[in-house]
């Protein structure tokens, strides 16, 4: 594997949150939100990070940017100027230089924009902080960015409340785009949006990537959205990556029982395909008190004795297909069956 085109390498990343109880606020336990994950992102590619709520996918994204200080592990970022740098060890000054190249888009477009700043100020702020532009140059650049994401530049002087959810998410994208980053972490950017708006924002993200060639770490829980946008997908379960592969591989021939269960749980948008596959029983275990061995074994229908004792490491079974399961090579699991292609045509417009 060549490392030149490698943009981000995450090795053994951990983020544990202490649980404090009692009057003395003593640490009585640890929530292992992210518990040793490994993955890499190449330049210009999209890695989808998918999992159920509480699996640590957002925490992982934030720990990479050091919005949460990681507990352990390395995050090697290939900066276009500084070269390969371990983000977790970088000092303040280095971080300042790294940040323009790694940006984030948040889930909730209603709370991630400062209501007291105008849209122009919000999008221009990164440019000011990094001393990239000022005065008319700044406002020209902001106007350009807004145009890029489909917001009319005249709206620069308005405040976030005047915009709809989809438009606000576009503003958030413009802000992330301002410094021409090589990596954008998209933390569930379309989860809060209606389907028709969701499609607009996904298309926008696709177009921007084609134009500027940045890489995305796309965090989400909607498997159809993740499939649409990602080149490769990593599946997380209780703070651990259980499977990672090229999108088609992962969806059509999953190798981890959890991935299989997740794929089979999606309600299929076709009334002629009403199947009732075997459902996953029970709930996701708490990351403060996970089960022994493989975290998935209490819910896994293929579990054997070894699964409750030993935690399987994430291993490459060939062609960049990583699986953390003792029986990855033996199990034959069912993936997604492609839905029949329903072609819908708009009624023809007629004249009066």
């Amino acid at each position: 594997m060549t490392t030149d085109d490698m943009l981000l390498e995450v090795r053994g990343l951990k983020k544990h949150f202490p649980i404090r109880t009692g009057l003395m606020r003593r640490v009585t336990g640890m929530v292992k939100a992210v518990d040793g994950i490994n993955f890499h992102i190449r330049k210009g590619e999209t890695l989808g990070l998918v999992g159920e709520s509480g699996c640590g996918k957002s925490t992982a994204g934030r720990a990479i940017l050091r919005l949460h200080e990681p507990t352990a592990g390395e995050v090697i970022f290939n900066d276009p100027v500084l070269g390969k740098i371990d983000v977790t060890q970088a000092d303040r000054e280095t971080m300042m230089k790294l940040r323009p190249n790694m940006q984030i888009i948040f889930q909730d477009p209603f709370t991630s924009l400062n209501p007291r700043l105008t849209v122009g100020q919000i999008v221009g702020e990164p440019l000011e902080i990094q001393h990239r532009a000022r005065g008319t140059e700044l406002s020209d650049r902001v106007a350009e960015l807004l145009k890029e994401v489909g917001i009319r530049p005249e709206n620069m002087t308005r405040y976030p409340h005047a915009f709809s959810g989809g438009q606000r998410q576009r503003i958030g994208i413009a802000r992330a785009l301002a410094l021409n980053p090589s990596l954008i972490i998209c933390d569930e950017p379309v989860s809060a949006l209606d389907v028709s708006i969701q499609a607009q924002v996904l298309n926008l993200l696709d177009e921007l990537q084609a134009k500027y060639g940045m890489a995305y770490l796309f965090i989400g829980h909607d498997l159809s959205v993740i499939e649409h946008i990602s080149d490769r997908v990593a599946v997380m379960y209780v703070g651990y990556i259980v499977e990672m592969a090229k999108t088609d591989k992962l969806y059509f021939s999953p190798k981890h029982p959890y991935t299989e269960a997740l794929l089979n749980a999606i309600p299929k948008a076709d009334p002629r395909l009403r199947t009732r596959p075997v459902r996953l029983q029970g709930d996701v275990p708490s990351p403060a008190n996970p089960p022994s061995g493989c975290y998935f074994h209490p819910r896994c229908r293929y579990a054997k004795d070894i699964c409750s004792v030993e935690r399987p490491p994430l291993t490459d079974i060939g062609d960049e297909h990583f699986v953390a399961c003792h029986f990855a090579r033996e199990l034959s699991l069912t993936g997604v069956q492609a839905l029949s292609d329903i072609t819908l045509e708009m009624p023809k417009p007629r004249s009066l």
Binding site: E52, S53, S164, G166, Q167, D194, V195, S196, I197, Q198, A199, Q200, L202, N203, D206, H221, L223, S224, V225, E227, H228, Y251, F252, A261, L262, N264, A265, I266, P267, K268, A269, D270, P271, R272, L273, R274, R276, R279, L280, Q281, D283, V284, V336, Q337, A338, L339, D341, I342, L344, E345, M346, P347, K348, P349, R350, S351, L352
Partner: protein, 344 residues
């Protein structure tokens, strides 16, 4: 279960609920919001009707109107909601004739018609055990015997697949996971064997694996008890898996009403078509998604003509922007109707 689309007569006398030309306005400090602009649809007995639409289209308000739970700012301006508790009941009851707090309405609410809400945590009372909350409905409507009520509460918890119903009945909502809470909500709604169950986005707050469990449960219970369900959702996948019939709503109107098969395979309204085209489809979702231009209009403004015309790719100038299309029958046998000038 009645998943096969059997022919439905448009003038069927066996509708559990028939909503006729319902208009609800909200009077706020910023102006009047026309939440419902004449909503009409029927829920055939023993079937699952899906109400689909984007946020703000009025789907929740429709559900709340049937329960008479719309907040004080909302006023019902016109329309009727005809309810038949049992098949062939003549004449049907117009729910809207009862006052919100009248004894008649209280007798219907939670007993004949019950509702499940989206957020199970905020719809359960944190101060009472799950068992107490289920018993409350049973004591109010079914029996005065407290020990009988608690026995029934445990029974209904067993029915919704709770692993340890006695322990769950004694638990407080915060002790349960999201999926468990939603099961408790369903148990509560089903405790009095309602004729109609209104489910307002019951799985939106849940993860896919939990969602699948809850949908399976609801389908199982529906075929077992035969309750009619009005299923409000924005997820087309859930619609395809759960519903027998679908009403698509946009800006406070039902724009298309058909069997679930017709909605997915032969949709007629440009909005339904755009909605289906904009969802990423599993297993074949590369390339550009077709999206609907613009966004749902500001609720305080009123759109003349067809409310979808500003976003419609095939709108006819001079017609769609001036005249509101009437509901037209596409296929009478299957009960397929659409509100669009292109189909009239």
């Amino acid at each position: 279960m009645t998943t096969q689309a059997t022919s439905i007569n448009l003038t069927s006398h066996d509708d559990v609920v028939r909503v006729e030309d319902l208009k609800v306005n909200f009077y706020t400090q910023l102006g009047v919001v026309n939440a419902l602009n004449g909503v009409s649809f029927n829920i055939p007995r023993g079937r699952v009707l899906g109400i689909v639409g984007e946020s703000g289209c009025g789907k929740s308000i429709t559900g709340l109107s049937i329960m008479q739970l719309v907040v004080a700012a909302g006023r019902t301006e016109a329309g009727r909601i005809m309810f038949r508790e049992f098949a062939g009941q003549e004449p049907p009851i117009n729910i809207l004739e009862y006052g919100k707090n009248s004894p008649e309405m209280r007798k219907i609410r939670g007993n004949n018609i019950s509702m499940i809400f989206q957020e199970p945590m905020s719809s359960l009372n944190p101060c009472y055990t799950v068992g107490n909350q289920i018993e409350e409905a049973i004591l109010l409507h079914q029996t005065d015997d407290k020990s009988e009520a608690s026995k029934r509460a445990v029974e209904v918890l067993t029915k919704v697949g709770m692993p340890n119903p006695d322990r769950i009945a004694a638990s407080f909502p915060h002790e349960l996971s999201g999926g468990m809470r939603q099961r408790a909500m369903i148990a509560m709604a089903l405790s009095c064997n309602p004729t109609l169950l209104i489910a307002d986005e019951p799985t939106t707050a849940l993860d896919v694996t939990t969602e699948a469990q809850i949908l399976d449960l609801m389908r199982g219970l529906q075929s077992e008890i035969g309750t009619s369900i009005m299923f409000i959702t924005h997820n087309m996948g859930v619609v395809a898996q759960m519903c027998d019939e679908v009403a698509v709503m946009y800006m406070g109107r039902v724009v298309e009403r058909a069997t679930v098969d017709d909605i997915f395979y032969e949709p007629r309204h440009p909005y339904t078509i755009s909605l289906l085209q904009s969802i990423p489809r599993l297993g074949r979702s590369k390339g550009r998604l077709s999206s609907i231009e613009g966004s749902v209009p500001d609720p305080y403004s009123t759109t003349p003509g067809c409310s979808f015309h500003p976003r419609c790719p095939v709108a006819i100038k001079g017609l769609c922007d001036t005249i509101v299309p009437e509901e037209t029958i596409v296929d009478a046998a299957k009960g397929h109707t659409v509100r669009c000038h292109l189909n009239s």
